[in-house]
Amino acid sequence: MASSRRARHAGPPDGGWGWMIVAGCFLVTICTRAVTRCISIFFVEFQAYFGQDYARTAWIHSIVDCATMLCAPLGSLISNHVSCQVGIILGGLLASTGLILSSFATSLEHLYLSLGVLTGLGFALCYSPAIAMVGKYFNKRKALAYGIAMSGSGIGTFILAPVVQLLIEQFSWRGALLILGGFVLNLCVCGALMRPIALKEDHKTAPEYLEQDYALKAQKRDLKRMSICSPLIKVWSHECLCYCSWKEYDFLLMPDFMVLAVSILFMAYGCSPLFVYLVPYALSVGVSHHQAAFLMSILGVIDIIGNITFGWLTDRRCLKKHRHFCYLFAVGMDGLCCLFLPVLQNFPLLVPFSFTFGYFDGAYVTLIPVVTADVVGTSSLSSALGVVYFLHAIPYLVSPPVAGWLVDTTGSYTASFLLCGFSMIFSSMLLCFARLAKKIKRAQLRSLTSDTGTKQHIWTNGAIAYSVTAELDQKNFEFLASDTNSYSNR
């Protein structure tokens, strides 16, 4: 009798329970990103109650953002080793505890720890595993699914901001934090929804490679590591701890991923000061308070539209092969907008800027998980996303103060906006050149192996079952090269 194993899906389901996962991820984005943005509404209350100035209260927001991004790899680690459901439920409990403890705060330092560190850590445990789960369940409609999931931050901020204001008026900040803690407990519901799924692609383990006797680069690497690790395995008496962590993070050494990482560093550096300094810049060129607030609202709403429409667009068959290009186009356009900003000196000119910047900002945010999945594959997606969001943390922390220092020393916003624009354009150029270099290399290698073209057909009937997705483009190329070697040897 065959073992009653759970049936492995041939490929991502692209629907069914996947839509519940999208709903769960949407709620996770609301509870993490939107709540982080709404914390700044409490600052006026904290300032009055504790008698501190704006700079010291603003630290809370920086600590939450930083903790969420810095601990993202920890989130991926827990969800990979234990389970996604446990990771997110734990994160929800931590974040909720942080908020409840802050409602009893007696000093600003107490708030730094409970609202800053504890809540930020809780959010970190939820955010990247939830996004990775969406990638596992979708393939054909991946970008649309991500668009819907990521639009949670915009929609959440839109709805939550007036609600938080109302809560503060009714219950004062202590009561509002308590109720917000209850709301964040809904992360546990999202965690329960994240049913694990086993894909055939995950079936890549070293013993299978050994059976096939293919001289693969990856196999060689795995064998070498197994021999190094075996004495250590005995010492630690933990099965494959060394091997597992290598296997999980071996995408870090991939040249594609390193290029992506550097480009993300520059991109995060460029985009973060803009949200902080748009309103002060608008006020400095003579726009009124109401109009400046309206600019931020436009940015927020168009961000949501950009998320969903760009996600839907890049899922179309014609654009799917060019997703990488769409991503760097969006980043480049954002950079270009930034370069134009110092020239826009009145409200009618700033409105189209808000529209364009908001749209492309929503666009590239949707594509970050998709592009990462394209580079590292679905099995390492969770860990890769952890690293990618971790790389967001340092620029988010460093960039606004640097921009502020530039504004103070030069006396105008031009220098800081130009720096942001060039940073983002450099990020997209880097990706563009890396892609071109890869294409040229591949074309050269294809011309070398063109005489063994007929043998390729026979090989594709081979023993290893690979689902044919765009993610495997580069792996296909490696297979082609090594396969011709093995056939010529026989």
Binding site: M1, A2, S4, R6, A7, A48, Y49, G51, E169, Q170, F171, S172, R174, G175, A176, L178, I179, G181, G182, F183, L185, N186, C188, V189, A192, L193, R195
Partner: protein
């Protein structure tokens, strides 16, 4: 037509009414400057403008002054001379029993000489003496234009209306604030409602997951059973065919 003029210290002020050119066709105009019922002597500055000079030394001279032009129609303009307004807060300040509350009053542009806080009990106002009840009330001024009243160890009796009064050379001005003291049970109820909702939803999701796992397992077992049946029947069919062939031969 009205105009507000804010004065915070003793000064000499000139109020003038000027007739606009579009009314210059009106003849036989009689101009009177009045304060309440009292008429004030005015000066004809030019053909179409009239003014009065006032020495404002104390609060008795403040109020509304009007210039009335009587002709075929009556046109008038009123000037309100007043002390600077103090900004309190329209929305009530909420706090909890045992906690503390901070109330802030601001004066814009003009610096008052002194600030006084009052608590309103029904119709009487009680001045708050922070030196007498130092562990209950703390009054401090961050700057001359702003005053803070911090009430410690709140109780239900502290609920109500408070006035902050700024004393200027020419009089006093009040701002009003409302304090609401809630018990800890008040926010706890919505919180517990949300926690209950979360627990119910999580239970439902996990139960559904177990149910669908069981269904899948049953469906898989059925499928395997069907496959084995199919194989068995194919085998038996094959045997029959071969025996049939044998018989035919």
């Amino acid at each position: 037509m009205e105009k507000n003029i804010t004065l915070d210290s003793a000064t000499i002020i000139e109020l003038s009414c000027r007739l606009d050119n579009k009314y210059s066709h009106l003849k036989n105009l009689q101009v009177t400057w009045k304060r309440g019922n009292e008429t004030i002597r005015h000066i004809d500055k030019t053909e179409n403008s009239w003014s009065i000079q006032l020495k404002i030394l104390d609060s008795s001279k403040l109020g509304s002054y009007s210039c009335i032009l009587k002709g075929e129609e009556e046109i008038s303009a009123i000037f309100y001379l007043q002390v600077p307004k103090i900004e309190g807060k329209e929305k009530p300040i909420v706090s909890y029993e045992g906690d503390s509350a901070v109330m802030i009053c601001k004066s814009f542009g003009y610096t008052p000489i002194a600030w006084t806080w009052y608590k309103i009990n029904g119709s009487e106002q009680i001045a708050i003496n922070d030196s007498l009840l130092a562990d209950k009330y703390v009054i401090n001024s961050v700057s001359a234009n702003v005053t803070h009243l911090k009430i410690l160890k709140l109780a239900k009796e502290d609920d109500g209306v408070y006035w902050c009064e700024a004393a200027f050379e020419l009089g006093r001005s009040k701002g009003s604030l409302k304090l609401k003291v809630l018990s800890l049970m008040v926010p706890l109820k919505p919180f517990l409602a949300i926690v209950a909702e979360v627990v119910i939803l999580v239970t439902i999701v996990f139960l559904y997951e177990m149910y669908s796992k069981k269904k899948e397992k049953c469906a898989e077992d059925e499928k395997e059973f069907d496959q084995v049946e199919q194989l068995k029947s194919e085998e038996s069919n094959g045997l029959e065919n071969s025996s049939a062939r044998n018989r035919k031969i």
